[in-house]
Symmetry: C2
């Protein structure tokens, strides 16, 4: 029982960007504060992207300034060197660089070839000050909304390159569409962890619950030795460029599994459910998850 | 890849009894036929219970007569010797005897003490002709809606007694409320399988998705060596005596995990989803599950 699952709450990024009308900045800041108050040890506070591409993230510097002193790991997504520079300027100490293994999805998501994105990763990695950590989101590591099953060899080649560029970075295999199955998750993590040069890397899993596999997939990753998991309170969110990818795995559903299984997530279920209820009440959000539906005295 | 998961479709029992107004008999028969046509290898066709207790099951003999020649294993639930006799008279070749480990739930469900229910099991086991198989549903094997976590020792004592009475029966540990977690499922099956005298028993898992753990729990049982799983198409159902226990694990969600993982369930996803859609359209049913919500061209 010495392993400790490490939940990264992504509702403020993967979730808020899924709501068409940008939320007021103070609402976003309040939810991030409440997530940390509920014990969330890590929160992805948003994306440093072009406000033209994703207007929901236009207020990132203001948000970062307001939350950066909270007692949690706070990371922000960046799609390129410009985003990384803006994140660093805003005081962010952990940047999450994203690219897709699938060419079709990478073009749709960041308008680059995979090779260009890997060059961008190298640029970001070399630009980071020593006190800023790097995480790499390897999107469509299982399934692509355009091309279906992504070849394992392509994933492993991408992982190898990530490890060459950033041998100590955290690498997240991301089930962008939610169509991964638990057997594939376990197998692909085992294969990725066996890639030469990855001994210094740390692993994470980012999943969606679209196909009902969210909790099972995360636990399959846990079985493979992964300790870090992206989830969103109330299951808010999805990928705007992945048709059918509605709904991150609900934080409360995965935390329930770990808490009840005797593993300490550090997250207080009552506090988490309160924030999840607030998130579920946001206008324009698509939410999911199961635990909010059960009688509250049975949830924790 | 030699293991083969064995799905038992329980919508016609656990599901139909959850719909307050009894469904027309021909609708029930049609759905059972369609489930078998979709490749479901095993269907629980209903309960031989007092029509006063559960009026939804008053037409069991008629249903049995209509479906008993279908190419599938067809089982029926029985709470007592009278139900077993009626099932045998109706031609059923597999009876499923149910009792709860928790005294409070057993009283609520079958109006007996656990000791009385175990005596009833012995009576049923000795009354069965040699060509009728016995399955034992050990309900509240994890959590009781009245008493919370059920002590593992109580479960193991019940399992030991089941194996003494019926050393070759199938024994299902049932998560009646859906509140089990995957770690407990794995641990409790390991412990049950280690009980002396169970070497000749076969194991099954019956779960609900109420707390979002349905697929993960079933796969935890699979990891422990369990090959048989109860699920309900469209997630129809619940336990009328277990408050909050809405929703069996959806057959399509678990079949997706196995089919995509390369294990042959024998079930055709398109056919299954067609039946699930029909079940979801039944008036008065509470349904769930994820796979019916995704674009159909991505489901199979």
């Amino acid at each position: 029982m010495t392993r400790r699952p490490h939940i990264c709450e992504v509702a403020p990024r993967d979730g808020f960007q899924s709501i068409a009308d940008p939320l007021p900045t103070d609402i976003k800041i309040g939810i991030i504060r409440d997530l940390v108050a509920a014990g969330c040890p890590r929160v992805e506070i948003g994306s440093f992207v072009s406000p033209k591409a994703i207007p929901q993230m236009a207020d990132m510097s203001e948000i970062a300034a307001a939350v950066m002193d909270l007692p949690a790991r706070l990371c922000a997504l960046v799609p390129n060197i410009r985003g990384a520079e803006n994140a660093i300027s805003a005081g962010v100490k952990e940047v999450c660089y994203v690219f897709s293994v699938s060419e079709a999805h990478n073009q749709s998501n960041v308008r680059q070839t995979v090779a260009q994105s890997l060059d961008g990763l190298a640029a970001v990695a070399s630009a980071l000050p020593s006190d800023v950590a790097l995480r790499i989101d390897v999107a469509t590591a299982f399934d692509c909304p355009f091309d279906g099953t992504v070849p394992l060899d392509d994933v492993l080649a991408a992982v190898r390159r990530c490890a060459e560029i950033a041998p100590e970075a955290e690498i997240a295999l991301c089930d962008t569409t939610g169509r991964a199955n638990p057997f594939a998750v376990r197998n692909r993590f085992h294969a990725a962890m066996a890639v030469e040069g990855t001994a210094g890397n740390v692993w994470a899993y980012h999943g969606h619950d679209t196909f009902g596999q969210g909790v099972a997939n995360a636990l399959a990753a846990w079985d493979a030795g992964v300790d870090a998991f992206d989830t969103a309170a109330a299951g808010l969110g999805g990928c705007p460029f992945a048709p059918g990818a509605t709904g991150n795995t609900a934080t409360e559903d995965l935390v329930f599994a770990f808490n009840e299984g005797g593993f300490d997530t550090g997250i207080d279920m009552d506090g988490l459910l309160s924030v999840a209820d607030r998130i579920a009440a946001l206008p324009g959000g698509v939410v999911g998850g199961h635990l909010r539906q059960v009688p509250r005295n049975r949830a924790a």
